[in-house]
Symmetry: C2
Subunit: 530 residues, 2 copies
């Protein structure tokens, strides 16, 4: 007999079509979130992607299976593109002095902040947009923290909020806004120079603590003097970004324990790294022919991602001549000027089907900038890597792979042709790299639920249950000194101090009493002797 209660659940938990509002990030962040959007559409949910007219990469076409709602920003698309371009240029410049670099960083940060402020204000000062969004009665808002004020939108529309993020340095967002504990003794702030893992000696722990102090200071200053002011201005009352972001029902973290060092988590943090990965599809005839021509040596896949189109002529020649030194064929995604030193084994393509190539049985290695998406495709298909990190989380990503024995990492700005050649030969010929990446790949595939299914599950969960408050810790309601029990400790210490004081006073009182009784007698004796 199936009880009535269970029948009710069967009905309640059935997948009803919901209304999802998506505020995506840019570049690879959007690429990743598209996988979730597609999966939601496959399950008959109605998805609307809210995007600024200045968005550099979220293309609003009419042929998609989901809707776009494009709101007018004051900043023009070209201006926004320029901000992103400056950002990339910043990391690729090795000629500037430290002073110049710092002033460039300050300028880029300031431009980013101006862009973010414009996006936020364009959304929240647009009454028609807000009215349309309110009337649409969305069931959930899915966002990437790269899109500013998305959390404020969830609060304004009074709908549950699901966040998707890779993670921040020293886990600042997760720690300060999500309340996740991050003990600096075994949770590295960021994997620097390949020597900070979860297993640290004393000096490494000192270094890690200093990194925590630095990242936390930058984060807190940045929040206080930029985003908190912006949020307060928009809301018209004191509001902090962390407080608003902390109201998120579910945090979808775009990593997993194949990549991360194990660390404390919270029940509303779900790890969905590699959700965009899928089995390889057949290659085009031309590409398959080139791949097959590699014979037993196989191929090497090389891509620096979608943000880098150009390298300096010097850099591209250094790379091309190194690629010419290996017996493998090389598929290089590059849209810059063809380097003169390009060898016959290397073929340059404007675009490559990266996932299909990485999943090809002939693929022996992957030269990558270390973006999380590409890195997870390498883990998924079990391809060892040579890392040429460029910016943002890429050095950290690749250092994780290096410390886990699945990658060799080089500095693209300073490496010589010989360095890249040696790195490639090491990864191709030393079996430990293949073994390590296969171990990570096994961990990745051996999960109770596929990452994409899990992401969709929890988005549907908050739609069904109007949130997931039963997974959200009460730490959000505590101040920092309450969280660390400093008020309680002070109170208990005060009581201990009071008891000690009273005990000493009482003792000394009785001691004095005894002393007074005996002293005159003593004195009398002394006087007698004298």
């Amino acid at each position: 007999m199936i009880s009535g209660t269970l029948l009710v659940f069967a009905l309640l938990c059935g997948v009803e079509a919901g209304r999802v509002l998506v505020l995506p990030g840019e570049y690879s962040h959007w690429h990743n979130m598209r996988s979730i959007v597609d999966a939601l559409v496959d399950k008959n949910h109605s998805v609307t992607v809210l995007v600024s007219s200045s968005s550099p990469t979220v293309q609003h076409t009419r042929t998609e299976r989901f809707n776009f709602n494009v709101f007018k920003a004051n900043v023009k698309k070209e201006e926004a593109d320029a901000v992103w371009s400056d950002f990339i240029h910043l990391w690729m410049t090795d000629a500037a002095s430290t002073y110049e670099k710092v002033s460039m960083i300050m300028q880029v940060m300031s431009n980013f902040m101006a862009l973010a402020a414009d996006t936020c204000k364009s959304m929240f000062h647009n009454e028609d947009l807000l009215h349309t969004l309110r009337e649409s009665h969305y069931d959930v808002l899915l966002s990437d923290p790269m899109m500013p004020c998305a959390d404020l939108m969830a609060e304004t529309l009074e709908i549950p909020h699901v966040l998707s993020l890779r993670s921040s340095f020293a886990y600042n967002f997760e720690h300060f806004c999500g309340q996740i504990p991050t003990p600096p003794s075994y949770v590295p702030a960021v994997a620097v120079q390949g020597h900070l893992t979860d297993h640290m000696c004393f000096t490494e722990r000192v270094e890690n603590m200093l990194l925590y102090i630095m990242y936390t200071t930058i984060f807190q200053l940045n929040m206080r003097f930029t985003f908190d002011r912006l949020y307060t201005e928009i809301r018209g009352k004191p509001t902090t970004m962390c407080e608003t972001m902390g109201k998120a029902d579910i945090w979808l973290i775009r990593t997993y324990w194949d990549f991360e060092y194990p660390r404390p988590i919270l029940p509303n943090f779900k790890f969905v790294g590699g959700l965009h990965c899928k089995p390889a599809k057949p290659l085009s005839k031309e590409l398959e022919k080139f791949v097959q021509s590699s014979g037993d040596h196989g191929i090497v896949v090389f891509s620096l991602g979608s943000m880098i189109n150009n390298l300096t002529i010097e850099r591209s020649n250094i790379i091309a001549s190194a690629l010419g030194q290996i017996p493998q064929k090389v598929v290089w995604r590059y849209s810059g000027k063809t380097p003169e030193s390009l060898a016959p084994n290397t073929k340059i393509f404007d675009w490559i089907p990266q996932n299909d190539l990485l999943g090809h049985p002939k693929t022996k290695a992957f030269i990558t900038h270390g973006g999380t998406n590409g890195l997870y495709e390498a883990i998924y298909h079990g391809v060892p890597m040579v890392g040429l990190p460029l910016f943002a989380d890429q050095p950290d990503n690749l250092m994780h792979m290096k410390t886990k024995g699945a990658a060799v990492v080089l500095d693209i700005n300073t490496m010589k042709s010989k360095d890249l050649e040696e790195a490639l030969k090491t990864v191709l010929n030393n079996p430990s790299y293949k073994e390590s990446i296969m171990r990570l790949s096994r961990i990745h595939h051996d999960q109770p639920m596929k990452p994409l299914d899990q992401a969709v599950y929890w988005i549907e969960f908050v739609m069904r249950n109007k949130g997931a408050k039963h997974l959200r810790v009460q730490a959000h309601d505590l101040s920092w000194y309450q969280y660390h029990c400093l008020d309680v400790a002070a109170f208990l210490l005060a009581i201990v101090a009071l008891i000690t004081f009273l005990f000493i006073k009482t003792c000394s009182f009785f001691f004095r009493k005894c002393f007074r009784k005996t002293r005159p007698a003593g004195k009398a004796q002394k006087n007698k002797k004298e």
Copy 2:
């Protein structure tokens, strides 16, 4: 095209029959673990239950689908039964003075320790047993911490270890042995008197901190002076229980967020509360007839679990007369003397199919002692509760249900008939109790994977992968002061102090230099004036 890598995974991840060694707990712990054992047998794994000849409840029959390996203990079964019987008696005695109670507790604890020591030594001093176990080449050891030295057995046999536990007061086992963070500011040590939840005011946080201090002190003293000595004696070198237990690959926690307040967790902690629950089966004809005779009023199910067979005549009469005051029919599991005040609406049974009754559409309420198993059956089927907690984790379990609005809790030793009657009427007539338990039931059923499937998944995972080291935090390798970064803080403070000292010294040096230059002039002026 499916890549070769994926094909390898398909083969690797296929369910191969493994060899599982089980060291179970007693009473309800064994009942719970049997569900896992049955599920493992269903998946063609070969399961051996290792049990002491003095075990009070783990029955070694020849008709099971799994094997028993019974080792000879020095303590007789009757003696072990007596220890457990004293344990129950301890909680049910309300006549004893505080002094008598404390001395009884000490006696029972001492008897338990002697029993544990005998079980451990009987296992580890039995060379034939150890030889047989070694030769059996088990793939994993599944244990309950109620069975002493199980972790030591996993270490001795050099096989992965999966622990199954409900959780300890102040999460001592999980915190000290498993390295889970437990901030006392929002993680209640234990729900006492219904006022400690995850949302605490200042005085409650003080109380919680004191409870943490108390439970931690008892735990540490108990470990140091009993189990650590026993482990050291058996291993022949300094060994602590926590260190050995901390090597477990997976911790299966027998709760979930339907029951627990959200709190930090670790990647190798899997929450499988209610894994033994299943849809209700049809009742026997006799029972179904009695249930149907209740008409629209429905029935109340009443059980104090498998450990309590007798109540005092006074208590049983108080209960029976309260049951007679409600219009529902009552199914009471009780094997003591039939109370004189038993009303016609109440029927006493030696044994009841509790899960099938709780899942019956006519069941309106559940009177329970609050064991985790029964409580999860009530959550599974959505039945509100009246709690009569007896011992161990039962008061805490029921306080969780009370604070979540799904139960009324009474003290069985002091309650009057009227109290029970009123509690029953409240739970039956106030719809908020049904709504609350239905909310918890929805949370329970709306999980990505069923609890039993998850438990089996992770046991099979450690068999497939020879452990789950990628989920185990490095905190295990740190001392307490390293974990809390006290050494790093001391070092950094020393540097700050040194810099401050040098700065002050330098300043005072220059100050003195200036002062010396000007003072004579000042003096000279002063002298002139004089």
